[in-house]
């Protein structure tokens, strides 16, 4: 009880100061992150320990962070924006929020298809959105890729997440790039015909449904499966890398860029470069069972065990470009 009162008193004092405090101390970075606190704080702490630069940050939903930056304009105190999904990074660039960073280090560390062609933003971790299957009912050789799941043989055997989540929108954006609008629409319509149950609101539910036998195949992000398997290794759900013989598996990134309005661009750039380095990449990806964007660094063992796979080399910035079209396409195909 007393502890609570003490903390409340401390917080009250801080709150009073917070009402008026504006500028951060020297050698401090301000980061807006759409990536959750538990996924970024360890990395920030490590950087602070190494360089002494303090990092203050706030988290939020990507579109809201973008809007926040747009509202703040020149008043903004933020130096870096970290988001999840390339589409969000593309949108931030469209809104003119990023500053171009000419850095050989970043160019070396991050593969070309995982960063903005004009150096406005850089992917830091990679996730694949690929096919999972119930290993008791199916074998890997039964599967081919995304388009194949639209075939009638999969009727009543497919589980999907809602079209409202940006990951699926990016997936369909990739399909549009690879198959054109008509082709992509046919694929999506085929998927809908094959659904075993109404679409789920998250990937974990899809995995659980598969495990329980409600369906045989699904499409999820790799790290969800990794999370669940790390708790429950005996789960009869296996991963299948889609389209290995053709275009490759759909990948997406979590990435960052230096903000135009930053007053600390040099510090920010240094931090970004550090994030792309071997030192940071492991931890960054590992916190969420993702793949490091830097190909030199290997992922954690669980994820590594799934093996190497061919990534779809489409530049992820096009995921943002085609996002609107993808959403409209999914609406037309009745993909809820």
């Amino acid at each position: 009880m007393i502890i609570i009162i003490i903390i409340m008193k401390k917080s009250l004092v801080t709150l009073f100061c917070l009402m008026f405090v504006s500028a951060p101390f020297a050698a401090e970075l301000t980061v807006y992150s759409a990536r959750g606190e538990h996924l970024i704080k360890p990395i920030f702490d490590q950087y602070t320990k190494k360089t002494g630069t303090k990092i203050r940050f706030t988290t939020g939903k990507a579109p809201m962070l973008l809007q926040k930056l747009v509202s703040e304009g020149k008043d903004s105190k933020a130096d870096l924006l970290i988001t999840v999904d390339a589409g969000n990074l593309w949108q931030a660039k469209q809104k003119g929020l990023f500053a171009s960073v000419d850095s050989p280090i970043l160019r070396t560390n991050i593969p070309a298809h995982l960063r903005d062609p004009a150096n406005y933003w850089f992917g830091l971790s990679l996730r694949a959105r690929t096919i999972i299957y119930n290993s008791t009912n199916l074998k890997a050789k039964d599967l081919v890729g995304y388009a194949d799941l639209a075939e009638p043989k999969w009727k009543n055997r497919l589980c999907l997440r809602t079209s409202k989540k940006v990951y699926n929108q990016s997936l369909v954006a990739m399909l549009i790039e690879d198959h054109g609008n008509k082709g992509a629409q046919k694929i999506v319509e085929g998927w809908i015909k094959n659904l075993a149950a109404p679409v789920f609101s998250n990937d974990s539910s899809v995995i659980n449904a598969l495990a329980a036998g409600q369906c045989d195949v699904g499409i999820v992000n790799t790290y969800y499966l990794a999370r669940i398997i790390s708790k429950n290794p005996k789960l009869p759900v296996k991963i299948f890398w889609a389209d290995q013989s053709t275009t490759g598996t759909h990948v997406n990134i979590s990435g960052a860029g230096v903000l135009n309005t930053s007053k600390n661009k040099i510090e920010a750039r240094k931090f970004l470069e550090w994030l792309s380095s071997q030192e940071a990449q492991g931890l960054f990806a590992d916190l969420n069972h993702e793949y490091p964007a830097n190909p030199v660094v290997s992922a954690n063992s669980l994820v590594k065990n799934w093996g190497v796979f061919k990534q779809n080399k489409l530049n992820v910035s096009s995921l943002g470009k085609k996002q609107k079209e993808a959403v409209m396409l999914m609406d037309r195909a009745q993909y809820k």
């Binding site: 502890i3 609570i4 903390i7 409340m8 917080s11 009250l12 709150l15 917070l18 009402m19 008026f20 405090v21 504006s22 301000t30 959750g36 606190e37 538990h38 203050r56 940050f57 706030t58 988290t59 939020g60 939903k61 990507a62 579109p63 809201m64 809007q67 926040k68 509202s71 703040e72 304009g73 008043d75 903004s76 105190k77 949108q91 809602t162 409202k164 940006v166 149950a197 109404p198 679409v199 789920f200 609101s201 998250n202 990937d203 974990s204 539910s205 659980n208 449904a209 495990a211 329980a212 409600q214 969800y224 969420n288 996002q323 609107k324 959403v327 409209m328 609406d331 037309r332 809820k336």
Partner: protein
């Protein structure tokens, strides 16, 4: 010889009142009006898409059906529970009285993921059923049949609280009169009491409808598409904040319409009740043993599904993540507590003044304008957050994060305290104010000597409701909070953002505990008063 009193005498009080009202209303309406400015730029392709694919029409229908269903269910649950708690004695009645408020401490979308998790194919409950009974407890195909009941479970406490208070505020005389006229209890209830409690219940229903309309988290989890999900889709997915703002304006207009209808009805019926309130209103009616058991069973079932089961599920999940508790949780808890306390105090204080001004105002337009100050509820949380933030940004005040946070929260929740206080204020007539005036007391003294004692109880319940609502609010808190502030609602969000629902259980449990504090305080105060 003739002393002419300056116009200042007439206007000094009135001018201050007017200024105050205009200030409050403009701050509330500013984010909404900002939305309307979005109409300068129209994304034709998006509107074409929304209209041509029949999406908008379908979504409007969905939203209306959802609101109506949730309102109906909440009405039935809330009024019935409020009535049995107010009028009858049954086992554990005094515990139930407060337990029914507890579901308010759980955010609607937490209810959603608890229930979706409980009934999905792979859940323990469902697995049990289809293993041993070959019966698939699959959630209904039409998401409405899942969404509406769960939302009703989350929102009925509003209706319960408002109607219970209305019933307890001296309904005994009308009930006795009705009985003496030969009506049996059920007739007496429906023909006498319910109409008298109508303003209070209508206020609560308005809240429930607005909450259902503006809800995004819960309906997303159920995958039930509404007008509000379209707003977010237009913003997040179709990348048009303008489109989203335009859609939100439509939502606000609908909300204004609802408020206007309720206002009209309320204005016509003036409950010029007697100035006297009988002290003897807490005595309850005796009923047969059969009914006592029936009521107990009914109350228990509702509490089980609306609070006990969700809590057990949360505790179960939280128990598996106890290693996550560290000293930081005390920070999260105290931050939530501070925000909630400050916001609730300001909300209740502002509503107190606004209600008093509104009730005494002779000008219908003014009365309606003041009522409009409750519009903050009509916007989806994120849209309001953006609106408030843009407002602060326009004045280059974005560094005043805490102030922006409290402003956004007050705009959103003014309605909660306003509606309650208005209902209570209308229970006593203007004559009391006038009597105090004619006895020489100026407005400041009347506040303290007359209105504060008469409204004290309601002020406390209003504080309680706003506190709990603010504590579980997420979008505004997420967007405007100062650096380093991570209240419990934000913690919950961070876990659910990546689908880690079970991790979210721990902060959710703390949130419920936090909400218990004001409720406990209120129970204690209430008990002390009645002894």
């Amino acid at each position: 010889m003739l002393n002419i009193n300056k116009i200042s005498d007439r206007f000094s009080g009135n001018f201050a009142k007017k200024l105050f009202v205009y200030l409050c209303v403009s701050i509330v309406l500013a984010p909404l009006l900002l939305n309307f400015t979005a109409f300068t730029h129209i994304d034709n392709d998006i509107w074409n898409h929304l209209i041509s694919e029949n999406i908008l029409w379908q979504l409007c229908k969905n939203s209306l059906i959802l609101c109506f269903s949730v309102a109906l269910l909440s009405l039935v649950l809330g009024v019935s529970l409020g009535a049995i708690v107010a009028f009858f004695d049954f086992p554990a009645r005094k515990y139930f009285e407060w337990l029914f408020i507890m579901p308010l401490s759980i955010p609607a979308y937490v209810f959603a993921f608890i229930y979706v998790g409980a009934f999905e194919y792979s859940s323990p409950i469902n697995s049990f059923f289809h293993q041993y009974f070959s019966f698939d407890l699959n959630p209904p195909k039409d998401a409405l049949y899942f969404t509406a009941p769960v939302l009703a479970l989350a929102f009925y406490p509003y209706v319960y609280l408002y109607s219970k208070n209305a019933f307890q505020r001296g309904m005994r005389k009308p009930l006795e009169n009705a009985r003496s006229l030969g009506l049996n209890p059920i007739q007496a209830f429906f023909r006498c009491l319910l109409p008298l409690a109508r303003p209070a219940i209508a206020g609560a229903l308005l809240l429930v409808i607005m909450e259902s309309l503006a809800d995004f988290g819960a309906v997303s989890i159920f995958n039930y598409d509404t007008f509000t999900t379209a707003i977010y889709k237009t913003w997040f997915s179709l990348q048009s904040i303008n489109g989203a703002a335009q859609l939100s304006s439509a939502l606000s207009i609908f909300a204004i319409l609802l408020i206007y209808l309720d206002f009209q009805k309320q204005n016509r019926k003036s409950f010029a009740s007697k100035s006297l309130v009988s002290k003897d209103q807490r005595k309850r009616f005796q009923i047969s043993k059969f009914w006592r058991i029936m009521f107990f069973v009914y109350a228990s079932i509702i509490i089980l599904i609306s609070f006990v089961f969700p809590m057990l599920q949360l505790l179960y999940w939280a128990a598996h993540h106890l290693q996550n508790i560290d000293y930081r949780y005390l920070h999260f808890l105290s931050q939530s507590a501070i925000i909630a306390t400050v916001a609730a105090t300001i909300c209740v204080g502002l509503s107190f003044l606004l209600v008093l001004i509104q009730v005494r105002s002779q000008n219908t337009k003014h009365k309606f304008l003041i009522r409009l100050s409750t519009l903050g509820y009509a916007l989806p949380g994120s849209i309001l957050a953006v609106g408030v933030y843009s407002l602060f940004a326009k004045f280059h005040l974005t560094h005043l994060a805490f102030t922006a946070l409290i402003t956004g929260l007050c705009i959103r929740f003014l309605s909660v305290s306003f509606n309650q206080l208005q209902g209570a204020r209308l229970q006593y007539s203007d004559r009391l104010s006038e009597a105090a005036q004619s006895l020489g007391k100026p407005v400041t003294q009347r506040l303290g000597l007359l209105h504060w004692p008469l409204l004290k109880n309601t002020l406390l319940t209003a504080f309680l409701l706003v506190f709990v609502d603010v504590a579980k609010e997420m979008p505004i808190t997420l967007m405007t909070r100062p650096f380093g502030w991570s209240p419990l609602s934000v913690r919950i969000y961070e876990m659910t953002a990546e689908g880690e629902w079970q991790k979210a259980a721990l902060p959710a449990v703390f949130l419920v505990l936090l909400s218990c504090l004001p409720i406990l305080f209120f129970i204690f105060y209430d008990r002390k008063k009645s002894t």
